[in-house]
């Protein structure tokens, strides 16, 4: 018991210190690295709070994609940002009030969290689990009970891709500081494992922590590794652009097709008939994972390819 308290305390102190470094440290690169380590510790916190699904997603997205995005953005930014004075003189006294407001918000949040009614929807979900076609509760909520949220989430991602691509052509990568023969070797060794692990996560999603999002994020991280070694030239070719866009939208399209099919058959939007639920959810998961992987790669290009 004392041990688990020591563990929690260490985690909390580490998180606060890393957040401090991320936010108020003087060195930009140290801030980015601190944030990446912050993500690692968050995964441990999710484990402590018995949320292995979130730990998986945090591991796949935080360690893989967010870190990669931050590091590559850092390499493209000027080394020292031009100093800009954000505060006008009359705003200076407001700083203290803003600090006080943030502190009060923290206290208020703590108090509200303490007072919220505790028995959540666990019992309702458990009673409906049999009708959803999957055996794992979080997957059931994500893809069946609250499928609309997930549909909109995929739409948000697609919108973000559209925003990133609308900014201009894809940025050309720099040459590394020296020849790195280890990098293609790394890609060759790891790539089959990326495919294997994401297929495994996808398959596990129906009955245990896993599912389309971690699987797609892992596949996307593997794709980022491919982009690093310039091994996906087809992405920049004119000929493949239409196909690329179709694949990017595949998850959303599959979701919409299922939702509209539900509307036609049962009369309710997103009502999946129970006998069809398991195969349909599998189809949605495969399409969504593929789309998410491609969208992660699309983010990483920082612009539209093939232009």
């Amino acid at each position: 018991m004392a041990l688990s308290w020591a563990f929690d305390l260490l985690l909390a102190v580490g998180l606060i210190w890393l957040a401090w470094q991320t936010l108020f440290g003087h060195h930009r690169f140290a801030a980015v690295v601190s944030f990446m380590v912050f993500g690692l510790l968050m995964a441990l916190v999710w484990v402590r709070l018995s949320a292995p699904d979130i730990a998986l997603a945090e591991a796949a997205i935080g360690a893989g994609v967010t870190g990669a995005l931050l590091l590559s953005a850092l390499g493209r930014l000027p080394r020292h940002p031009e100093p800009r004075h954000l505060l006008r003189p009359w705003q200076r006294p407001l700083q203290l009030q803003a600090l006080a407001a943030a502190g009060m918000l923290a206290v208020w949040l703590g108090w509200v969290a303490h007072r919220l009614p505790r028995p959540g929807l666990a019992r309702e979900v458990a009673s409906d689990l049999a009708a959803t076609g999957v055996a794992h509760e979080v997957t059931a909520v994500l893809l069946n009970l609250r499928g609309l949220d997930t549909l909109l989430e995929v739409a948000v991602m697609l919108t973000a891709v559209a925003l990133v691509w609308s900014l201009g052509p894809a940025l050309r990568s720099f040459a590394p500081a020296t020849a790195l023969p280890g990098l293609p070797a790394l890609t060759h060794l790891l790539h089959p494992l990326f495919l294997l692990v994401s297929a495994y996560l996808l398959w596990r999603g129906s009955h245990a922590p896993g599912g389309a999002f971690p699987a797609g994020a892992v596949l996307g991280a593997g794709g980022v590794l491919l982009l690093l070694t310039d091994s996906v030239p087809w992405m920049h070719r004119e000929r493949y652009q239409r196909r690329l866009r179709a694949l990017l939208a595949a998850g959303l399209m599959m979701f919409l097709a299922v939702a509209l099919g539900g509307l036609l058959i049962t009369g309710t939007f997103f009502a999946i008939p129970t006998p069809l639920a398991a195969p349909l959810i599998l189809a949605i998961e495969v399409a969504t994972a593929l789309s998410i992987a491609l969208m992660m790669m699309a983010f990483y290009l920082y612009g539209e390819p093939g232009r």
Binding site: L3, S4, A6, F7, L10, L11, G14, W17, L18, Q21, G25, H27, F29, A30, V33, S34, M36, V37, L40, L41, A43, L44, V47, P52, A55, L56, A59, A60, A63, G64, G67, A68, L71, S72, G75, R76, R79, S173, F174, A175, P176, A177, T178, L180, L183, L186, L190, L193, F194, V197, R204, A208, P209, G210, P214, V218, A221, V224, L225, L228
Partner: protein
Amino acid sequence: MTTTLYLAAATLLLANAGVGAWRIWRGPTSADRMLAAELISTSAIAVLLLLGAALELPALVDVALLFALLAAIATANFVTRTWTLLHEDRSAREEARRD
């Protein structure tokens, strides 16, 4: 018995990673900070494995597997995307040596 042992080991590893995190703050080069992050990520994998064994949660092994798989991504990004600035102009390179 083994449960307590593994929990103690996990706590020790976490504290040890905290000591290593001093390097992130201290530097002096970017590579040093990256090395500290790598040490912490290895420690996190070990902690996850030990916790998974101690609390009998097989799902944690999957999380550790993901971390191990993605550990290389950060390093590869760092050397191909972040440290490339230094190659091109000498002033940035000189700066990085002190930095």
